[in-house]
């Protein structure tokens, strides 16, 4: 026998184990001979070209287990027999169930497709929510990690740190600050731009993640080396340092200064975001580019509650007594909550929509199965009358539903894997962390749970209901439709209509909101514009003069490239992650009233060509010119809302003086007003306050962003742009090459996607509701065929019969609409709490939806009603 003809090894091993267990002490009979039989049967079938080898092999094994070993007279008393007989019955029930599925293909397809979709979508969404909202962060005891909003800082030793008093509070096991940014690393074949985070030593104490090699720096290390320390990520270590085990002896050249490598963090540790390098807070003021607004992270000690920690912080704040501070005191928020706060509304909205779709799908399936059970009630009644126990019938129905759940569960799981993969690919732009969503055992458990729940719900519930009546009772009452049944099914129809209306109304309201937000004017035109960043290390670009010179040279080089229409430079382009610098503004001769809020704006420097390159409209006055140089009279340009803030009376600010400063105030003449540019996207609340100064009068700090308006394909310019910058300074990496059009699209991507997804859900629900209504009504009417037949035979007008049936359907739909309208109102107010600036539910829109649902109900009931009233009374009575 060739090896291919034998059963698989695992099959033989399972068979051997089961047979030995079955034979127990009667091993003399020998499990081996039966294994030989199984092998022989397998080989014979294989030679005959059988394609269901495993299925038939399992059947052989089952029959052997049932029959062999036991003495004929002792079979009934055999301890194993009861169990095996149970398995055998189950096997028969399963086969019967699959036969039924084959016999009613349309019904089965409807049920299975609905269940599959339900399982797939719910598994996909539950997994995403689980992964993004609920899964603990990969730190020890992550629930004890908090962020401190409005913290206090100290600036001792030329280092920024959380205030000493806060660090020493006994409720915290570690307090540290961090701020994200980026640095240039050279010494490799090409200069590298790395994501870097400024982190005080307390940052590592708070996170409590041990290093893979070495140890994170302490305050002492920091002082001893004058901040020239760096901790690197596992990814950086492998990618750029070749996973060198003696890495701790090496130096990294960061922004052209040597740094000692203190530690390599373990694989997967990249907090915050995608950090590759961690530097002490005084290490390099340029790490964070334009602005420095660090976050403060703390670990609450074991045994201390969140409220106790907050109380201790309040006491500290009070003791410190900072009367000049105008904002509120330090506030704690859970780290996980803070990190997911942006994603939560979108995900919850999705989850709610999916929940409603699922509800409709489940009522659909429940309705269909219930109707089927009702149709088979006569069979069940007969079987009970013939002596089948209630348990036996319920068991069959549970197995029947189980078979549906297994088939739908398998298909649904496969589909949800696809859904999740699509989600992790397409969701990357709009959900941070979506890329990490993959398939794992937790997701499979969720899928299993959802399938099992649906099996229980759809199998056991009708099973219990249908067998509750004593057999004799049922037989006497015949097998007609009972009042309880009708109520249940009518309830399902009403529920489906209500769910559909709620989902339609809510999704339309959300879609309208999103559409409104998506049509927001971003006030810049990114088409054909290439953006790029360069960081000028202070080690070589000390003071404003060299930086200004570099910008001038770069602009000249870039402008000379073929295909460039105009070039501009600024400190921060729309879509950049840096925090920006806040500047205090004032009007000379207009002292601020004591109770008036301070006037802040985001400080931006710009070159003469910036506004033209970015398509930012100058509403009044003029843009900067080449004459606005260092040494010439200081000038400024305001955004529209800044102008309004300073001169609320609406007068033109052109030619007026404005004061600005980061401490000491200096005056400048306003020469222009530009539109309000969305730097961070339209969902950031409040009006964008911007204050522009010429780059020549106020060189950017470290980071310079260039915007090139091109006449051809902007990305094709990339090599020429790199060469142009390298010609000025070959050690400067050009990074963040991006299409500004992509940034503008990215601002709106979340909404566009949400509109599409929600719209899809609404449509799906409508289809499901229609199918469900049709299915249940058709079954209800089919059961009444005899009654209708009698009525027609007795001379009833078929039109009236039809109208009666349609009337019932419409009454049900109306009830559902009334309940759905109330539910929509509630759901909308619930959602408004999560979706900012959500539109109120529009009643005319809801009326339109109700109309659509009524039309669908009419169609769903008309077809079966027509069929029923057209039936020949003779046939109806005979059936």
């Amino acid at each position: 026998m060739t090896p291919g003809q034998t059963p698989p090894r695992w099959f033989l091993a399972v068979s051997r184990t089961l047979l030995r267990w079955r034979l127990g002490r009667r091993q003399d009979a020998g499990a081996e001979q039966y294994l030989g039989d199984l092998s022989e049967l397998w080989a014979g079938r294989r030679a005959a070209g059988c394609r269901t080898l495993l299925f038939r092999g399992a059947r052989d094994l089952m029959s052997l287990l049932l029959h062999v070993g036991a003495e004929p007279s002792a079979i009934q008393q055999d301890a194993h027999w009861g169990f095996l007989a149970g398995v055998h019955t189950m096997w028969h029930d399963m086969r019967y169930s699959f036969r039924l599925m084959r016999r009613q293909p349309v019904f089965s397809a409807m049920t299975l497709v609905t269940l599959t979709l339900g399982i797939a979508v719910s598994t996909g969404i539950f997994t995403s929510v689980d992964r993004l909202l609920w899964r603990p962060l990969p730190f020890p005891a992550a629930d004890r990690l908090v962020l401190v909003a409005n913290p206090a800082y100290s600036f001792g030793d030329n280092r920024m740190n959380p205030a000493r008093g806060m660090i020493e509070l006994p409720v915290f096991a570690g307090v540290g600050l961090y701020a994200e940014g980026g640095v240039n690393v050279d010494g490799f074949a090409n200069p590298v731009r790395a994501t870097a985070t400024v982190a005080s030593p307390g940052f590592f104490t708070a996170l409590a993640v041990p290093a893979h090699i070495g140890r994170p720096y302490t305050v002492e290390d920091d002082v001893a080396t004058a901040n020239a320390l760096v901790v690197i990520s596992d990814g950086f270590w492998r990618r750029y340092l070749g996973g060198d085990p003696n890495v701790l002896e090496r130096r990294l050249s960061i922004n052209r200064r040597p740094f000692r490598i203190m530690a390599v963090m373990p694989e997967g540790f990249s907090f915050p975001g995608t950090t590759e390098l961690w530097l002490p807070s005084g290490a390099d003021l340029q790490v964070t580019g334009q602005g420095f607004a660090p976050m403060v992270i703390a670990r609450i000690k074991t045994g201390v509650t969140f409220d106790q920690a907050q109380a201790a912080l309040d006491a500290f704040d009070l003791e410190r007594g900072a009367p000049e501070r105008e904002d509120q005191g330090p506030r704690l928020t859970g780290l996980q909550d803070s990190l997911t706060s942006q994603v939560r509304p979108t995900l919850l909205l999705l989850a709610i929509s999916v929940g409603l779709v699922l509800l409709v799908a489940t009522t659909n399936v429940a309705g269909l199965l219930l109707a089927r059970v009702a149709r088979r009630q006569s069979e069940f009644v007969l079987r009970r009358a013939l002596g089948a126990s209630r348990r036996r019938l319920i068991q069959f129905m549970a197995i029947d539903a189980g078979c549906h759940a297994v088939v739908a569960g398998a298909a649904g799981t496969a589909l949800s894997v696809l859904v999740l993969q699509a989600f992790s690919v397409f969701g990357r732009q709009w959900l941070p962390g979506a890329a990490a969503i993959g398939v794992d055992s937790r997701m499979l458990w969720i899928a299993l749970g959802v399938s099992a729940c649906s099996a229980l719900l759809f199998g056991l519930a009708p099973g219990l209901a249908v067998t509750a009546r004593p057999a004799a009772h049922a037989l006497r009452g015949g097998v007609t439709d009972g009042r309880g049944w009708r109520w249940t099914r009518h309830g399902l129809v009403v529920g489906q209509v209500a769910c559909a209306l709620i989902l339609l109304t809510v999704t339309t309201a959300t879609t309208a909101t999103m559409r409104r937000l998506a049509s927001v004017d971003l006030a810049f035109d990114g088409r054909g514009v290439l953006g790029l960043d360069v960081t000028l290390p202070t080690a070589t670009y000390e003071g404003p003069q060299p930086a200004s010179l570099f910008v001038d040279q770069a602009l000249a080089q870039l402008r000379a490239l073929p295909g460039v229409a105009s070039v501009g430079a600024t400190g921060m382009l729309p879509g950049d992650v840096s925090t920006g610098i806040g500047v205090t503004l004032g009007v000379p001769g207009q002292p601020r009233a004591d109770d008036a809020p301070p006037r802040f704006a985001t400080f931006l420097s710009a070159t003469p060509g910036y506004f033209a390159s970015m398509g930012i409209e100058v509403v009044e006055g003029r843009p900067f010119t080449e004459h606005d140089r260092r040494g010439s009279p200081p000038v400024a340009i305001l955004s529209e809302s800044t102008a309004r803030l300073l001169w609320p009376d609406g007068r033109s600010p052109i030619g007026l003086q404005v004061e600005s400063g980061f401490g000491t105030m200096a005056s400048a003449e306003v020469v222009g007003v530009v539109r309000n540019v969305s730097l961070r996207g339209p969902e950031v609340p409040g009006r964008p306050m911007h204050f522009y100064r010429p780059i020549a009068q106020h060189p950017p700090f470290g980071n310079v962003s260039f915007a090139l308006k091109t006449t051809g394909d902007p990305l094709a310019m990339a090599p020429a742009v790199r060469a142009a910058i390298a010609a000025i300074d070959p050690t400067l990496p050009v990074y963040n090459l991006r299409l500004m059009a992509d940034i503008a699209d990215g601002f709106l991507a979340t909404r566009r996607l949400a509109i599409v997804v929600l719209g899809g859900f609404a449509l799906l629900t409508l289809v499901l509701a229609g199918v469900g209504l049709y299915g249940v009504l058709a079954q209800v009417i089919e059961q009444q065929t005899r009654e209708i037949g009698i009525r027609v035979a007795l001379g009833a007008d078929p039109h009236r019969v039809r109208r009666g049936i349609v009337g019932v359907a419409l009454r049900l739909a109306m009830t559902g609409i009334v309940i759905g309208a109330a539910g929509s109102k509630m759901a909308a107010s619930l959602l408004a709490a999560y979706v900012p600036r959500m539109d109120a539910v529009a009643w005319p829109m809801m009326a339109a939806h109700a109309g659509v649902i009524l039309v669908i109900s009419l169609a769903a009931s008309w077809v079966p009603a027509r069929r029923a009233s057209a039936i020949d009374p003779i046939i109806a009575l005979r059936d």
Binding site: G36, D37, S63, V68, P72
Partner: protein
């Protein structure tokens, strides 16, 4: 339980064992029965019937060496006993008698 009487399935199994002679063990018996009766006969049912026949003393079994087809596993070979032969013959006699009586009655009714 059918006591000492032969059930219908047992009789078919016994006949097959007799026909197969030295090759009578589980798999060939099941295959012959499935082929000749066009029934879905499971291997377990065959063994159950053989076990009952052995208890009644109509067949006897011995372990025989395996073949390559069986992956070298041994097999339990069955052979009909004189009592088995006698049981089949007496069943045959009973059938013949009853058939003759029925035919006789039909002829009388027709005439």
């Amino acid at each position: 339980m059918k006591g000492d009487h032969l059930g219908e399935f047992e009789e078919l199994v016994l006949l097959t064992v007799r026909g197969l002679d030295a090759d009578a063990y589980g798999v060939p018996v099941q295959q012959v029965l499935a082929r000749d009766t066009s029934r879905d006969v499971s291997i377990g049912a065959v063994y159950a019937a053989l076990a009952r026949l052995e208890t009644k003393g109509l067949v006897r079994s011995r372990m025989a060496p395996g073949t390559a087809m069986r992956g070298g596993q041994s097999r339990r070979a069955f052979a009909i006993t004189p009592a088995g032969v006698q049981a089949l013959d007496s069943m045959q006699q009973v059938r013949l008698r009853l058939r003759r009586a029925a035919a006789y009655r039909e002829v009388r009714l027709r005439s």
